[in-house]
Amino acid sequence: MNKIITTPLTEELISSLNAGDIVHITGYIYTARDAAHKRLLELIKNNQPLPFDIQGAVIYYVGPTPPKPGKVIGSAGPTTSSRMDIYAPLMIEKGLKGMIGKGGRSAAVKEAIQKHKAIYFIATGGAGALLSKHIKSAEIVAYEDLGPEAIRRLYVENFPVIVANDIYGKDILEEGKKKYKISP
């Protein structure tokens, strides 16, 4: 299924998405990877406010290259999601609804996705130049000192992703592998 969705994500919308769906995202999303997640989790643990509204938010695991003069952003493809597995369940519990990255997720993240109605998307790694064309604005929201790892608010248009894990417990990585595996 080909679907066009807008952010922030609602539970109603998330319920309509299934693993394997091709989705184009339009709206604001936030970037965060290893170092930013570490700081966000500290804030959550200390009951302090986050630098952006996490309710219904989508986080894109990315550390872009710097923009060339006159450009919005540089190359901006996904990084490996599993490094954020340790942080994701608590983020989801606090209201995070969508994650964009690459590769599989842990059992704990999949469980949180089902329990709190969230969704995990995969974008094509190695296609950072192509994906950057769908990013129309970028501004630093927090942690400028982290350079490429700062939290940025991006406005994306028709950003192409695939639903990898849905609220029904389906996992496109596991299904895809099973389908194409040739047993000895």
Binding site: G63, G74, S75, T79, K102, G126, G147, P148, K177
Partner: protein, 283 residues
């Protein structure tokens, strides 16, 4: 005997130009491998990933934009002819300066932190590089720039096998490593394998194996056969482009080997993502 002189500026400029090109222009052999894999891949999602990668390299080349946002650890191989003089004090400094200029001018991401455990503070210019320097005979200097992404490097592995584990042990370890990596290292991948040597030599061989042109087999027919067999077996795993399922998990398997100790059979698997970047120059 005639001795050639290379200036510090020549080294800096060559390294700079190599990285500027390597990061933005996908090598011809990798492009061709993408094209051929489109014909083999049965999964519609897999084909769409490969098509995106083909479109991506066109955009990168025309706009001088990094192929991937992870512009990598700056790995540099130098083979230095013994008849060549250098007018500077330190090759490592010269190579770092080349890296610094390329990552600044190219608007590449600076991905290196100063300390792995305690500080983890970005060095701000992507240095230091990883320099592999070797003296060879002759009056030429070969420099290879091979920016290496963190995601695929994280999925690499080394194991000290017992000699008795033999060929089956090697195959099992390679397949286990690729299977465990799954969609994380951005398949379709290239698998560099080092066999033999010591612990560190073996890891180095696996990295060197990634520099070989795709489609060129090991000159020893037994290793060439092993490369072919492993490629076939890896592509039976079903992982597919970006791990979404499919026939093309790896584009190529390259093996480099070295003599080893009577007690050992080290095997290293270095995984290269689809952004298989490297560029060489001969001075």
């Amino acid at each position: 005997m005639f001795k050639k002189l290379l200036t510090i500026e020549q080294i800096i400029n060559t390294v700079k130009e190599l990285f500027l090109e390597a990061v933005t222009v996908l090598p011809e052999d990798v492009c061709n491998a993408f094209e051929s894999s489109l014909k083999v891949e049965e999964s519609p999602m897999g084909r769409s990933v490969i098509q995106q990668l083909l479109n991506n390299k066109d955009i990168s080349k025309s706009e001088g934009l990094a192929l991937c946002q992870d512009t990598g650890f700056s790995v540099v191989f130098i083979e230095w002819g013994n008849n060549v003089y250098f007018d500077g004090e330190n090759i490592f400094d010269a190579v770092n300066e080349g890296v610094r200029r390329a990552y600044d001018e190219g608007y590449f991401r600076k991905s290196i932190v100063n300390d792995p455990v305690f500080d983890r503070k970005n060095t701000g210019d992507n240095t230091p590089c990883i320099l592999h320097f070797e003296m060879v005979k002759g009056d030429k200097v070969k420099i290879i720039a091979a920016p290496k992404g963190g995601g695929s490097e994280n999925m690499s592995a080394i194991r000290m096998l017992k000699p008795a584990e033999g060929l089956d042990g090697i195959k099992a370890f390679v397949l286990e490593t690729v299977e465990k990596a799954g969609g994380n290292p951005c398949p379709p991948i290239i698998v560099g394998i080092g066999i033999g040597g010591t612990f560190e030599k073996c890891a180095m061989l696996s990295k060197k194996a990634l520099l070989r042109k795709l489609g060129v087999r090991n000159s020893d027919h037994r290793y060439a056969e092993l490369e072919k067999e492993l490629l076939l077996e890896i592509n039976k795993l079903g992982i597919g482009p970006m791990g979404l399922g499919g026939r093309i998990t790896a584009l190529e398997v390259n093996i480099e080997y070295y003599p080893c100790h009577i007690a050992s059979m080290p095997v290293a698997v270095n995984i290269q993502c689809n952004s298989a970047r490297h560029k060489e120059a001969i001075l």
